[in-house]
């Protein structure tokens, strides 16, 4: 659905490998987690706490909180505000986060 724009900035074209649930995804350094996963074809990043309906990143600028995901074990991270890092483990989030036994 989404495709990357060509970048003139040479600092942003190194590949970075992250995981999304059980998939391995190749992202580009300098991208946010949300951008990388949308480019990789992710459709939903979470289900909502109350009605458990599926959601995806929306505003891509930190205001709507639709992009919440679990990043390296930390739940409710705004994926559009977090840059990808080599080896990062990203998980989609089902409903509300659990508080107890989080290993944040």
């Amino acid at each position: 659905m989404f495709k990357r724009l060509p970048l003139s900035d040479t600092t942003c074209n190194r590949d970075v490998t992250i995981t999304f649930d059980d998939l391995t995804v190749t992202a580009r350094e300098g991208e946010t987690v949300a951008a990388a996963l949308l480019a990789a074809g992710m459709r939903n990043c979470r289900t909502t706490p109350v009605s458990e309906s599926p959601r995806a990143p929306y505003c891509m600028m930190g205001v709507c909180f639709e992009c919440l995901m679990e990043v390296d074990g930390v739940p409710n991270v705004q994926a559009c505000q977090m840059l990808v890092r080599e080896g990062m483990q990203v998980r989609s989030q089902q409903g509300a986060r659990r508080l107890v036994h989080d290993h944040a």
């Binding site: 109350v50 409710n76 509300a96 986060r97 659990r98 508080l99 107890v100 989080d102």
Partner: protein, 372 residues
């Protein structure tokens, strides 16, 4: 100029509950509400429907709170049937946490005397740490015990307010966000209310303007010696159920956020927040539930309580200008059901509920007149 049976000044929880109670009994009601710049406790409170510990100086206040708590479930069902809005009211009982043996024993003696003063109608239990852990598995080690009362509960005060507004309109009432009412003119046994750009005529008038009552009450022969008292609250991200019953300073909402309350600050008309106060609230919350150390706080705010000198409500009918009433309190969520079902009928002409007899402003005149 439009004419109504009742003009209710103030569309917070107190005014809206009374207006809803009047409208559902068939009266033509108009709510005149200042708007977004006003001080509005109803939009910044903690949402407890709380009985335990209240009324130690005036036990009839305990009876009044118990009456309201017992009417709350019915009000919730009624509002849901009428408007489709759920208040999220639940009454699983509530706990007040104690952090030392001394605190626990003084809590116990205060509640015992309250129970005696109400002939046992207010009842409670004391829990030690292990019994408390049965109710709240995540409770912190530094919590020594708690008092528990089956009478306590909580609700979402914003949904309550929305439901009351919708209910008023459903029963043919009018809500106007009209800027502050500045003047109320008694005229030929009725009242003309001046808002910024309009006037409303009403046979009777109810002052429920929260802190705004201070300036309005003297215009109709009443007095409302109110002062603001600030409370700050923090709210976390949404989480899976963790806390199944409300506590005095912590509760989990229907959506899963944890509310951490609240401070009592004498700072005049300043409804902002201060970092040192917020951090104290957060630290107390983490002592109660250590797992909270891991959570994100997503918002914090301050709101002003509507306080009389002794903290008890004010309900009074004007003797100089019959048909004018004043109503305010600092537990507008708890008392909402009593305001709908018992206070509004009094304002409409029924005999007053027995519990409210102590709550006129006369008690403040007497105090000032008594040499100390």
């Amino acid at each position: 100029m439009t004419s109504y049976d009742f003009a209710v000044i103030g569309g917070g929880l107190v005014g809206s509950a009374i207006a809803y109670g009047l409208a559902r009994a068939g009266h033509q009601v108009c709510v005149l509400d200042e708007g977004d710049v006003a001080y509005r406790a109803s939009r910044g409170n903690f949402g407890l429907v709380w009985v335990q510990g209240k009324g130690q100086e005036i036990p009839l206040y305990s009876e009044w709170s118990m009456s309201s708590a017992s009417l709350w479930a019915g009000l919730t069902d009624e509002l849901y049937d009428l408007t489709g809005i759920r208040t999220q009211h639940q009454a699983p009982g509530g706990v007040h946490l104690c952090y030392s043996a001394d605190e626990l024993s003084s809590r116990q003696s205060a509640l015992e005397s309250l129970s005696r003063a109400t002939q046992g109608r207010f009842d409670f239990d004391m829990l030690d740490h292990d019994q408390l852990r049965q109710l709240i598995p995540e409770i912190g080690e530094s919590v020594v015990g708690a008092s528990w009362s089956r009478l306590d509960g909580h609700a979402n005060p914003l949904y309550l307010l929305r439901a009351l507004h919708a209910g008023i309109q459903h029963h043919g009432g009018t809500y106007k966000s009209c800027g502050p009412v500045r003047r109320i003119r008694p005229e030929a046994g009725s009242f003309i209310v001046d808002c910024e750009r309009q006037q409303v005529h009403a046979a009777r008038v109810v002052l429920a303007a929260g802190l705004g009552n201070r300036d309005l009450a003297p215009q109709v022969g009443l007095s409302a010696p109110l002062a603001p008292n600030r409370g700050e609250i923090l709210v976390t991200e949404r989480m899976k159920p963790l806390l199944n019953l409300p506590t005095t300073y912590l509760r989990q909402t229907g959506e899963g956020s944890i509310l951490m309350g609240d401070s009592h600050e004498d700072v005049g008309f300043d409804d902002g927040t201060e970092t040192h106060v917020l951090s104290h609230i957060a630290q107390r919350a983490v002592r109660a539930l250590p797992a909270l150390a891991n959570t994100r706080v997503v918002r914090a705010w301050g709101a002003l309580r509507v306080m009389t000198p002794d903290g008890y409500p004010l309900y009074e009918a004007s003797e100089t200008y019959p048909g004018a009433f004043v109503a305010c309190c600092h537990s507008g969520v708890t008392l909402a059901a009593a305001h709908v079902k018992r206070l509004a009928p009094w304002i409409a002409g029924d005999t007053p509920p027995a519990e409210i007899s102590p709550f006129t402003a006369e008690r403040f005149h007497v105090q000032t007149a008594t040499p100390v």
